[in-house]
């Protein structure tokens, strides 16, 4: 599989936002411009038919990566390549856009409340001129609605007549309507109830197998990510902390942040263990800490971590950005309980 050319590649991808206050206020307060480094130099690739997930806490930049991937944002630096062709240099061509689609987090905001479902689903079909007659369009919409587990009759209704889970199905039908090969899913189940989440995750896996889709999956939920991913990238303050094959990440998390994140997850099995919270708060991405951004919260931090920013280096079958792992000091931090229990 490693030989297959990647469907999607991000190379040193960065996106900075200017969050300065208006000029007049800046002059009064005598402060300079302020830049938010939402995504700061990350690289990964996704082979065709596979799923790569990005996990991290809010503000880590994972949703920005999703928007960079589909061209809603243009990169500040670095590039995005889709099927071997650069997307960043010029605007994506209609053909490239047709082949990539996005599923959003909030099923209540992602469907235009004034449109009937059949028009929502048909929008990409019309935008790309995929069918020529009205009858063809109707047939295709009916087929898509059936494919996501809805009735073709639902096409005449408005979004408010559906529950959150059904709306997310409509979103998926819309995303599939242009026959895409690559789907970017930004927290597609985090606004849903857990029983509905299972329905949607099953549906997405099923569609991936049937249609050979490639997924970039964004989530904050490690358990969800484990179910869907082939590879997982853990993000912290705009950078990748660790990038590893899914099973290997859960068998042996290397980066101290990954371990802390796993340790903080509530324990459903009620083994009686206490969660060990990660100390401190996520720092502001406008004024990130020096050196390794995680060092103020890291039990393994030393002087080098405060000074020098770690680069992604291979460690086993993973890539890890951590001085402690590179120097072999990481054994000082115990593996999370769930890893120990599994072993």
């Amino acid at each position: 599989m490693a030989d297959a050319p990647p469907m999607f590649e991000a190379r040193d991808l960065s996106r900075h936002f200017d969050v300065s206050r208006p000029l007049l206020q800046r002059m009064v307060a005598r402060e300079g411009r302020r830049t938010l480094r939402a995504v700061d130099g990350i690289s990964f690739d996704i082979p065709k038919g596979r799923t790569l997930s990005l996990v991290g806490e809010s503000g880590c930049g994972k949703s920005t990566v999703a928007r960079l991937a589909v061209g809603l944002y243009t990169p500040t630096a670095g590039s995005v390549r889709f099927d071997g062709r650069d997307l960043g240099a010029a605007r994506a061509s209609a053909d490239q856009r047709r082949r990539m689609q996005m599923i959003f987090q909030d099923p209540y905001a992602s469907l235009n409340p004034r449109w009937r479902v059949k028009h929502i689903v048909a929008e990409p079909i019309r935008a790309f001129g995929l069918v020529t007659t009205k009858a063809q369009e109707e047939a295709r919409v009916a087929e898509l609605l059936t494919q996501v587990g809805l009735s073709p009759l639902d096409g005449d209704k408005f979004p408010h007549e559906f529950s959150g889970g059904q709306r997310q199905r409509i979103s998926i039908a819309r995303a599939l309507s242009s026959n895409p090969e690559f789907l970017v899913c930004d927290e597609p189940t985090s606004a849903l109830d857990v029983s509905v989440q299972a329905q949607i995750l099953n549906l997405m896996k099923e569609l991936q197998q049937r249609l050979g889709l490639t997924f970039l999956f964004i989530s904050h939920n490690l358990a969800v990510v484990r179910q869907v991913s082939d590879r997982i990238g853990v993000m912290y303050l705009g950078r990748l902390a660790e990038l590893a094959p899914a099973e290997s990440l859960f068998r042996r998390p290397r980066h101290p942040y990954t371990r802390a994140l796993m340790e903080a997850i509530p324990d459903l099995d009620m083994t009686g263990r206490e969660r060990i919270p990660v100390g401190g708060e996520v720092p502001s991405p406008i004024t990130p800490p020096s050196g390794c951004a995680f060092h103020p919260r890291c039990p393994l931090a030393n002087d080098r971590c405060k000074r020098e920013r770690p680069e992604m280096k291979p460690a086993g079958d993973a890539m890890v950005a951590c001085h402690a792992v590179e120097e072999g000091r990481d054994d000082a931090m115990p593996m999370p309980a769930i890893v120990r229990d599994a072993a």
Partner: protein, 304 residues
């Protein structure tokens, strides 16, 4: 059509309407004003503009229920012997025409510019909003006076008389578009960042189409409220301009004109010439404003 009607009578809007006596009363008053104005040529007892039917002997007749009143002239007559009731109906016609046209003009201009400012943002947004800011620091009647004055100064008198009505409409409309632009821009800023708009952007739907087919239908609700409330204001603005003598041409007297003319006789005892047009104006504006208030509450999900 039947389907649309059925849905309307089943809607929350209709429900909240029937539950508010003040609103129902306002709607009735507004309907009387509007129907009376629209059908004036057919239902008015006299034609105040038909010089042949005017008789100076009938001048200054008080209302019908007073001792000297004539049954023919329910609300009395003015100095020319014109029936006040008919003059009000014809005058309301002009007032409504100007009010509605000016509001439609202000709405179209304000909604388009607000949508553009909110969706495109950047320099266009800053420019348009600064114009709004500047204009909103002046009372709108002052803006209307200024526009009217400029047009008068630029155009020759005989041309001006022909287009005076349009000048007033333009003047009032241009003085009130910022309210619409601000309302629409605010809602557009919210809608623009919603995910359904992003979904359309992902597939490359052109900006203009996103604005018209996605954003516009979702920002139009508050505009209806502003437009209704604004209609009352526009009618008042027109009345003020006409009262000051710079509004509609004297050949087409509006309610404001009638009030101005009657004003001269207020102290000589012929109060009805100015009071009744005044009452009509108040009834019209108040009922429209009450309807607007109700619409605002009914469309506001937080108050429901």
């Amino acid at each position: 059509m039947a389907e649309t009607l059925r849905r309307f009578f089943d809607s929350d809007l209709w429900f909240s309407f029937t539950r508010s006596p003040v609103t129902v009363l306002s709607a009735i008053v507004a309907a009387i004003c509007i129907l009376g104005a629209v059908f004036a040529p057919w239902i008015a007892p006299h034609n105040p503009f038909d010089l042949a039917s005017l008789n100076l002997i009938d001048a200054f007749k008080p209302p019908a229920w007073t001792e000297e009143g004539a049954r023919d002239y329910v609300l009395g007559t003015d100095d020319q012997g014109r029936d006040v009731l008919s003059a009000i109906m014809y005058g309301a016609r002009v007032s409504l025409l100007v009010g509605i046209s000016a509001t439609v003009f202000a709405t179209l201009l304000g909604v388009s510019l607000g949508l553009l400012a909110g969706y495109v943002g950047g320099a266009i947004d800053s420019l348009l909003m600064r114009i709004c800011d500047i204009q909103l620091t002046f009372p709108s009647i002052l803006v209307a006076l200024l526009v009217d004055g400029v047009v008068r100064a630029v155009l020759p008198r005989e041309v001006h008389a022909d287009i005076a009505l349009f000048v007033v409409i333009f003047a009032i409309g241009i003085s009130e578009w910022p309210k619409f632009a601000r309302t629409v821009r605010g809602s557009t800023l919210v809608e623009r960042n919603k995910e359904y708009v992003q979904a359309a952007r992902v597939i490359g739907v052109p900006k203009a189409r996103i604005m018209v087919s996605h954003v516009l239908p979702n920002v139009i609700g508050p505009v209806l409220v502003v437009a209704t409330l604004n209609l009352g204001l526009a009618i008042l603005s027109e009345a003020t301009l006409s009262f000051l003598g710079v509004g509609v041409p004297p050949t087409q007297p509006s309610l404001g004109t009638l009030i101005r003319i009657g004003n001269d006789f207020l102290f000589s005892g012929e109060w009805w010439i100015t009071i009744f047009p005044g009452v009509a104006l108040i009834a019209m504006v108040l009922s429209v404003n009450l309807l607007g208030d109700w619409l605002r509450d009914a469309l506001n999900p937080k108050l429901r």
